[in-house]
Amino acid sequence: MPKTSYYTATTLDGYIADADNSLQWLFEADSGDNSEFADFFASVGAFAMGRTTWEWVIDHEDLRADPGKWHGYYGDVPAWVFSNRPLEPVPGVDARFVRGDVRPVHAEMTAAAAGKDIWLVGGGELVGQFADAGLLDELIVGVAPVTLGGGAPLLPRRLESSRLTLTGARQVHQFAYLTYAVS
């Protein structure tokens, strides 16, 4: 059964980006060779993100100048980008721009993933909409050794322990990987 997973790095106080929408704090933390993500992404058949995350990836990686980088990271796995306003496509990047209800998009992603898993990249509010619709199966957080005191929230929802089950906790270099099943 394919899973829909929110896989993300976070600070130990629950922020996925700082108040300036930067991830500099994250790159200062020792993550080793980042093989955790490679292992995770190997099972992913479709992924989704919000507009802010998309714009960060495009700008940070300078993909408009070098769109081939996208393929290097994500291969041929299709991406869905939720945005309430029009976004400019990047040539060679398989991203579909969508808006509104996450449920029909999730059905479309599930079909495209053809038995593989769905990755929700973020941000927190978009993932919250999937959780609200009962479409979030797993939460995998790589906790960086950082507190920010403010920024973009990990998951701005109340999910109590009746809905979350800790299934794994382990250290990989300076990151603590915590995995939860969501019901």
């Binding site: 629950g14 933390a29 960086a144 950082v146 507190t147 005191g149 929802r157 109340r158 979350l164 603590a176």
Partner: protein
């Protein structure tokens, strides 16, 4: 080498809140702790502890301490407690509690002396712990992460501490809690492996040299 540590030991949600918006911990008490809650072993190493007024008032009400002061002694014995407050708060009868306000540095010196070689525990809240961190007085953070997101509430630690200031020293699962331990500040600067070694070597039954 033995180090007297000032430790922030607390439960938190995955998204970094120590209490919800109603200042409640009901979400926490529903969580399966497993068979051995590590708090007892932790508190055995504590010689002095401090908390803010909100935390103190929460404990007063939750444990009905004004009517049943024995509950305080059952939890904390005679270990001295400092409560930071700008208000007049009712004392727990016959408990070893000091009400103070102002600079954490001066209070911390008194706590270290009173702790007699044992550790100093910062209970919370987040801003009080932040004041200790601002002064370079925080050595270790131990978090019991509950399988809960709250989306809002009282922040764990409203400060920016970078990866240069924090070193992850341990990850453990107990029941439904994930315990994460971090060396802070100068201990983090020791290097990751050295920090882990030092933090795991402290036997509170032995006399300690105070490094400050």
């Amino acid at each position: 080498m033995i180090v007297v540590k000032t430790q922030y030991y607390t439960a938190t949600s995955i998204d970094g809140y120590i209490a919800d918006s109603d200042n409640s911990l009901d979400w926490l008490f529903e969580v399966d702790e497993g068979t051995d809650n590590p708090f007892g072993a932790f508190f055995a190493g504590v010689g002095a502890f401090a908390m803010g007024a909100t935390t103190y008032e929460w404990i007063l009400a939750n444990d009905n301490l004004l009517d049943e002061p024995q509950n305080w002694h059952d939890m904390y014995g005679g270990v001295p407690c400092w409560v930071f407050t700008h208000r007049d708060l009712p004392p727990v009868p016959d408990a070893n509690i000091f009400f103070i306000s102002g600079d954490v540095k001066r209070v911390h010196e008194a706590m270290v002396v009173a702790a007699q070689g044992k550790n100093v525990w910062l209970v919370g809240g987040g801003d009080l712990v932040g004041e200790f961190a601002d002064q370079g007085l925080l050595d270790e953070i131990i978090l019991g992460v509950a399988p809960v997101t709250l989306g809002a509430g009282a922040p764990l630690l409203p400060r920016h501490l970078s990866a240069h200031q924090l070193a992850l020293t341990q990850v453990a699962q107990m029941g439904q809690f994930a315990y994460l331990s971090y060396a802070v500040g100068s201990l983090a600067d020791f290097g990751r492996h050295k920090a882990a070694e030092v933090l795991s070597s402290h036997d509170p039954s032995e006399p300690a040299a105070i490094i400050r």
